[in-house]
């Protein structure tokens, strides 16, 4: 672990400039006061109800995502480079989606094999030839990044369907502001609190032609038992829009309308936090209770904006991921600013052979998996795990990709013994509107609280940190 890059101490143990203000403050603090503050943070989270539900357990069980009080800090210049890379990547993703559902030039040019699309479950034939209002496919994107050294960020995953976590980004900041106001007068931290207002403006800007001058926006949630319900309610509340469920909605006169106390009222933009498959029982999964029968027909005739557009999953699939460098170059004509993590596609025989030979050094992921489930971390796996995965790989090679285990950067957490390094990742949030792309400075930092662990998922013992981008 000694070769890991620590974002506070670098490789040589000298405090990096972005952390100096924090460091000075921290050394002057009484650890007992900080421990009390850490508990206070937990109290605030519990009372405000910033919790997530755990699937498959007692419905009443709501858990807190542990919050660590040490911020993750980036300098303005470090961030600007990152933001440019993110913007470029998101631009490419939207161009790719537009192309894939229309002329498919990238396939014709032979830059991506045909079957990557033809055999992709996330590709929605319903979207062929449909142009979303304003031409925007992914209104909200979360790009997962990891850092391996000074300024060396790699994209781990693109989240172009219904990314989550922005409420934690906002509440983490709010909590830090409440607990340590003095830190913010010493450090000039770029604000994130206008995210909900920007989100609303951004969604309204993508309203369909049918909308009036002040488009009606609503958030669609699967309901209070969904693991991210808190976030759905939070965003609707902060945007000042209605939070609806499928059974509040109905198609009337070619519009999607919500049942109000005074009758049905049409919605212009639906920010849905329901997966494609459940969106419309008439067009997709007929068993779905979460969607709106017929919404896809309204969508195709321009009666509503669905954010993100159905079918965007085709761009954030882990197999497509390995082609992202080509995709960025193809659509932007530029060299990608952000690097991918080298990826072996197990569908290719040579790659599969390599992966099987080096399984103990690699991370293997399911192409469609998420949440850190169904993956193998080679160096941490037992012989039994390795054997089991070897069988799975041979049975369904196309279902997997493999990547080298990266030496992820660490950021200190406030542990019992004081500051202790833990691995982190970063999910910045991106808003796309017809006239531009905006990246919120910072994002959500997830941290693996267990010493040495690389798994940052909240479902598996991860926590979060406030993320600062300094004004240079």
């Amino acid at each position: 672990m000694t070769e890991c890059f620590d974002e506070m101490w670098g490789r040589d143990g000298v405090c990096r400039s972005a952390y100096r203000g924090f460091h000075d403050w921290f050394t002057g603090e009484d650890p007992r006061r900080l421990r009390a503050k850490q508990r206070e943070a937990e109290e605030i989270f519990r009372l405000t109800g910033i919790t997530f539900n755990v699937y498959g357990r007692d419905a009443a069980e709501e858990r807190l995502i542990p919050f660590d009080i040490v911020p993750r800090i980036m300098s303005g210049s470090e961030w600007n480079r990152l933001a440019r890379g993110i913007e470029q990547r998101v631009r490419a993703i939207n161009a790719f989606l537009q192309d894939i559902y229309h002329k498919q030039e990238i396939l014709k040019a032979g830059r991506i094999p045909q079957e990557m699309i033809a055999r992709n479950d996330a590709f929605l034939p319903h979207m062929i030839g449909v142009r979303p209002p304003g031409g925007v496919y992914t209104h909200i994107v979360g790009i997962d990044l990891v850092c391996t050294g000074e300024g060396e960020f790699h994209v781990l995953e693109d989240n172009a369907r219904t990314p989550s976590g922005m409420s934690y980004m906002l509440e983490n900041r709010e909590t830090m502001l409440q607990m340590f106001p003095e830190l913010f007068s010493r450090n000039r931290v770029q604000a994130v609190q206008n995210y909900p207002a920007n989100l609303r403006r951004s969604l309204a800007a993508s309203a369909p032609p049918a909308a009036g001058p002040d488009p009606v926006v609503a958030v669609l949630t699967p309901g209070i038992y969904n693991s991210a319900y808190f976030e759905h309610a939070f965003l609707a509340d902060k945007m000042g829009v209605d939070l609806v469920e499928g059974h509040d909605l109905r198609v009337i006169d070619g519009r999607v309308a919500m049942r109000t106390t005074r009758g049905y009222r049409p919605i212009d933009v639906l920010y849905r936090r329901v997966d494609d498959d459940f969106l419309d029982p008439l067009n997709f999964n007929p068993e779905s209770q979460l969607g709106v029968p017929g919404i896809m027909d309204v969508y195709r005739t321009g009666g509503i904006t669905i954010a993100n557009a159905p079918g965007t999953g085709v761009s954030d699939d882990k197999a497509i991921y390995s082609y992202m460098p080509e995709i960025v170059e193809f659509y932007t004509g530029e060299r990608p600013i952000l690097q991918n993590v080298p990826t072996w596609r197990c569908s290719e025989p040579d790659s599969l052979a390599y992966v099987l030979d080096n399984l103990g050094d690699l991370v293997v992921k399911e192409v469609h998996g998420s949440g850190g489930y169904g993956m193998l971390v080679g160096p941490a796996a037992t012989k039994k795990d390795l054997a089991a995965f070897r069988r799975k790989l041979k049975a369904r090679p196309a279902n997997y990709i493999a990547q080298p285990t990266l030496s992820l950067s660490t950021v200190p957490i406030f542990a019992r013994s004081g500051l202790a390094p833990r691995h982190v990742d970063l999910r910045p949030f991106v808003l796309v509107r017809p006239d531009g792309i905006r990246v919120t400075p910072g994002g959500l930092t997830r941290v693996a609280l267990k010493k040495g662990s690389l798994v940052v998922n909240s479902s598996q013992g991860g926590g979060t940190k406030d993320t600062w981008v300094l004004e240079d």
Binding site: L47, T48, G49
Partner: protein, 313 residues
């Protein structure tokens, strides 16, 4: 505003009102039991009746004892109308309508939930009972206070109030329905005072002893108590007070609607039919009969509100 949201608000506040009412019934029951040395368990059956859970209780318990009744009313998982059940319901509804509530109200109801779950995790001992009941009432009062102090006076507020007052009217009518015999003038010789402990119990379970003494003196007669609980608009748990508020809420909601509200018509009818006569007429009609009819009328009113404001599909 969404019909679902109106529904959630209505039931959130109904549940809170009911939680508070049940806590108060337990308090009164305990007090009556303590003063009835020969048969301390006799008082718990009417308490169950007033909370309208007697049948469910008997289906789950063989005998009516203090300990079992209190546990049933406070926290039994088999009783969805227990104080804990009501507070959980209220909080679930609050989560559902989170966007309609201020942060203050949400935090108050969430705090009530967290405290109730903690205090009622185990059987409450007789010694801890007064403190637990006090804390429960304080928590629900805090939600009410935050509601009054932080919410906009708009549609959202009106549905919250409707839930509160309909539940409250129902609770008061139920107590009168169960304890009507305490107030029957016919069973007593004119001028004799009724069972002090009993009428005190009725007033106490409506937090109304002080108010009554202040305005009616300290030697109560059945007519006066009946008047107080049914017709006195100064008394915040009287039927007249509650229906008055319900009418105001519905009038507000009906503003701007083209068609006249059927719910509003119903509440006006309740007022005219039952609450605009003097006490003698009520006794002539039969206090018990009237309560049975009133309980039915409040139930129809609640149903009409649900339909009219599209609570459900």
């Amino acid at each position: 505003m969404l019909g679902k949201t109106a529904n959630g608000l209505f039931w959130m506040y109904r549940s809170l009102e009911r939680a508070e009412h049940t806590a108060r019934l337990i308090e009164t029951g305990q007090r009556l039991a303590l003063t009835r040395l020969n048969d301390p368990d006799a008082e718990w059956r009417p308490v169950l009746q007033s909370a309208s859970v007697l049948q469910a209780y008997l289906a789950n318990n063989e005998t009516v004892t203090r300990e079992a009744v209190i546990d049933w009313l406070l926290r039994s998982r088999d009783n969805p109308g227990s104080v804990l059940g009501c507070i959980e319901q209220a909080r679930m509804n609050a989560r559902m309508v989170r966007t309609a509530l201020t942060g203050d109200v949400w935090e108050a109801v969430n705090a009530a939930y967290m405290q109730a779950r903690q205090m009622l995790a185990r059987k409450v001992s007789e010694r801890d009972l007064p403190e637990v009941l006090r804390a429960l009432r304080q928590q629900t009062s805090l939600v009410r206070g935050m509601t009054q102090g932080s919410m906009m006076r708009d549609e959202i507020y009106e549905f919250a109030r409707l839930g509160t007052y309909i539940e409250r009217a129902d609770n008061t009518a139920r107590i009168l329905d169960v304890k009507y015999y305490v107030l029957l003038p016919s069973t007593l010789a004119v001028g004799s005072s009724i069972d002090n402990v009993q009428w005190e119990g009725v007033l106490r379970s409506l937090s109304a002893e002080g108010g009554f003494r202040m305005h009616y003196g300290s030697s109560p007669a059945p007519r006066e108590i009946t008047h107080f609980l049914m017709l006195d608009k100064r008394m915040p748990r009287s039927l007249a007070f509650c229906t008055d508020k319900i009418r105001e809420n519905l009038t507000y909601l009906n503003r701007g609607y083209r068609q006249p509200s059927e719910s509003l018509r119903l509440v006006c009818h309740i007022e005219q039919q039952y609450l605009s006569h003097d006490v003698d007429r009520i006794f002539e009609y039969g206090l018990h009969e009237m309560m049975v009819e009133l309980l039915g009328a409040f139930a129809s009113l609640a149903h009409q509100i649900e339909t009219e404001y599209r609570f459900h599909e």
